[in-house]
Point group: C2
């Protein structure tokens, strides 16, 4: 059992104990010796990197049912070794999570959100074996560690744990108490994150925290940093039309000549899909679908500032896009990106999908879809509207198989968690861009929504790339002083923790 | 070079020669000794079957570019061995064909359409190796030969060649001259059949024939025979929407969150498809699309008669269908089957097609389609209408990649080719059903359309199954006297040739 004493109360008790015993907890208010910590970070470089490599060598992949228990146990061990006194593996209806607390006897408590799982990979597509964490020269960047999870998210998380090791080894006080929640299902849409965070003992210690952050390699290849204040929500689902469920058309693929007397589940799906969006595919036309709140003036200003700095030409080239939706200008396109919900077809699968043709009338057709939600729109409302819409339009037989998803998440620019980021960055001469929210998704809602209603964000210097792709990497030795390597990333967490402790 | 002397003129010359030399050509008018031929068929059973097995062991598959030249050469050898005096391999822009003539000094000439190619196969799906032609017990039927091409079309074609061997070996007169056209691209939609049939020397000898037929295992498992008077035409094509061609949306797959600012080629395809058919997917709504001629009173009577004999319940069970289009009754559904054109989606392929989901906005989407045409509708008109329709509706960027197809084909029930079939069958106590046309397709148009305007049909007793599927078979030793095995199939061709010669 995890002790049910809340961190703040335990912090007070620890302080009293520290006074009595003359422990480092006492020096909490003094300025930390950052130079000493930095020397330790340098000294621990190889050990810290070894920790990351060993972690990458153990991939946990929820979609493949691979190493969930082993991954949770390894995460628990990493937490214990980094100084968390209470570490517990929590079972869910899916993969287990890890809940850990580090009572530093500090005034403030900071929440941490980790993931121990990684995305699937195909070694054949990699130039370096994805579990071997080789150091590879990357022109213009420096030496990178290449491996699955290198940047998403084991690299930044290992750097954060390295910060805790360095602070302790330097004899410096840890300025905040920590509460860690780690899950093993992030890459499949965090279907059971609520079963971790909403356990009474977890909520109890998170409730009084200043917020929750996830370690993150925030620097682009030039060293710029964008602070995102949230993320859209997402629903992933399949729409499945079948002769079986429809009661019309064939139950299996039949010869296509029969189309003259047999209905087609593929046409049925096409007709249903057609009703979901406008002619240009860009406006949602689902009856009763939740509406996005209008973009705020503050967010609009952020987007305008970012659009001025970011290169439209570079974005178009990277994406292979010649025109934005409706031929919008760059700023307006970015405004749409952060403020509008989407209905997207990820994939279509029906009948014969190989080379050439095959004269079949398929018995089944599938649209793989994702729906992005602006904070304020509720996932459950969106699914209910979709189902009611299909039913009303004569497509009630089409299966709506929701595989995952969650609501959006939003944090105020004024939150202490965000202000501390800005302070750390500006002290280093980095002027971060503020961004209303990621168009992509992460399960921050579990922290920012009631009952916790906490700020949540990502933070960390350093750079990486190739998340979800082959040759994923995390920068270890940077050839550009404006971009931090591994030790610089570790130090950014040290500085952030001390800033949060103020 | 193939001799350019037409068969009829050569036939006359041969007759004169026969009179002078006392050759069998003389006995043309006498009644043939069918009993003697049947004894020879029995005696030649093993040799004839060996010929079929050797043929199956050499699969020609146009889609896989496999054994086209070898298949044509083998076909040419089979023709020569069966008595064709002139045999020539004809090159086309695709796979070569075979043109052969057998001058029997007869009054009448009969055309033959053969295919030497077979459908693709995956040995892993077969219960018997698809090239080994093993004899397998099939409960309720007897011993069947199992192999790729067994029924489609090498088995029936080998049985026909067996008939020629048996007639010659028995010293009986061949009652008709023969013209054979064999192609190696039937299974990919006969894209170059016109380059074979419309060569001057081929047209010249075909022109005066009574018509063209293809050997065929016409009996169902109860021994019933349906004579089909034609077939629908077909077009196979892919509609491809892409960011590349559209100039909107991404040129490759990008992250699905970008849907808020980037157009989707998948939605573009869905919207285009939606305009092609009515809400129920069953009425073609392509602007300016050719219309099907109304079904004739004669064909309507044929359908009504067939619908009375055939079991609706059995058809529904076999197809896994509960309702016909528009809840039509059995007879009306069959009328629709033979008389209405179709627009069918064979397959949909876009973006991520594996298990689960993947958050991509795909750069490309493909609909694999087939369009069935009723005789009277022209393939080229249909394609032109489709392209104009897409252009007019704002989908001119969507590629229309036609991979094959041809017009429909129709033969009159009064044609000698058909009347001879009925006579042979009725003499054997089989009352055939007449059927206006197959809903499926075969390239009979090349014979029935101008300039040749010949009757064309399929004929043959015997039974088989599994065309295009694993475990394809042709019945060799029948356990049901009403269903012919291999030797019975051979004799059906003997009888048909003598009937045609009358």
């Amino acid at each position: 059992m995890h002790p049910s004493v809340p961190v703040r109360r335990r912090a007070v008790a620890a302080c009293v104990l520290a006074v009595l015993l003359g422990l480092p907890g006492l020096s909490m208010a003094a300025e930390p010796d950052l130079a000493a910590i930095e020397r330790t970070v340098t000294a621990q470089h190889d050990v810290s990197l070894k920790r990351l490599k060993d972690w990458i060598a153990l991939p946990s992949i929820a979609a493949e049912d691979l190493n969930a228990r082993e991954g949770a146990e390894y995460m628990a061990r990493l937490a214990r070794e980094a100084g968390f006194q209470q570490v517990e593996i929590l079972d869910t209806d899916g993969k287990p999570g890890v809940f850990a607390t580090l009572d530093a006897g500090a005034e403030k408590t900071v929440g941490l959100y980790f993931m121990y799982d990684v995305k699937q990979y195909d070694p054949a597509e990699w130039s370096s074996p994805p579990l071997e964490s080789r150091l590879v020269d990357k022109p213009g960047l420096g030496k990178v560690l290449m491996g699955r999870g290198a940047v998403n998210q084991k690299g930044p998380q290992a750097a954060f744990l390295g910060a805790l090791h360095a602070i302790r080894e330097s004899g410096q006080p840890l300025p905040v108490n920590l509460v860690l929640v780690a899950e093993g299902e992030e890459e499949i849409g965090s279907p059971h994150i609520g079963q971790l965070v909403h356990r009474p003992e977890v909520e109890e210690v998170l409730r009084d925290s200043v917020g929750v952050f996830m370690p993150y390699a925030a620097q682009d290849s030039d060293g710029n940093v964008t602070i995102s204040l949230g993320a859209k929500g997402v629903i992933e689902l399949e729409l499945v039309a079948s002769g079986e469920k429809w009661g019309r058309g064939p139950k299996k693929d039949v010869h296509s000549s029969l189309k003259a007397m047999v209905d087609s589940p593929v046409w049925h799906l096409v007709k249903a899909l057609d009703t979901l969006v406008s002619e240009d595919g860009n406006i949602i036309t689902i009856d009763g679908y939740p509406k996005a709140p209008p973009i705020s003036a503050e967010h609009r200003v952020m987007v305008a500032a970012a659009a001025q700095v970011r290169s439209e030409a570079k974005a178009k080239e990277q994406l292979g896009v010649e025109h934005w939706i409706g031929d919008l200008a760059w700023r307006q396109a970015n405004e749409r990106l952060v403020s509008q919900p989407t209905v997207n077809i990820e994939g279509l699968v029906a009948g014969y999908t190989g080379p050439g043709g095959k004269t079949v009338l398929p018995g089944r057709a599938v649209a793989k879809m994702d729906f992005r939600l602006v904070p304020g729109m509720k996932k459950d409302d969106a699914i209910a509207a979709l189902k009611a819409h299909l039913e009303k339009r004569g497509y009630g037989d089409i299966e709506v198989n929701v595989s995952g998803g969650y609501d959006g998440t939003q944090t105020s620019a004024g939150a202490g968690l965000i202000q501390a980021q800005r302070a750390v960055l500006e002290r280093r001469g980095i002027k971060p861009l503020l961004w209303p929210r990621n168009a992509g998704s992460y399960p921050g809602f579990v922290f920012t929504d009631a009952p916790l209603s906490l700020p949540a964000a990502h933070f960390g210097l350093g750079h990486g790339g190739g998340a979800h792709a082959p040759d994923e990497y995390f920068l270890i030795e940077s050839s550009n002083p404006a971009v931090q390597g591994y030790d610089g990333a570790v130090m950014s967490y040290v500085e952030y923790l001390y800033e949060l402790g103020k």
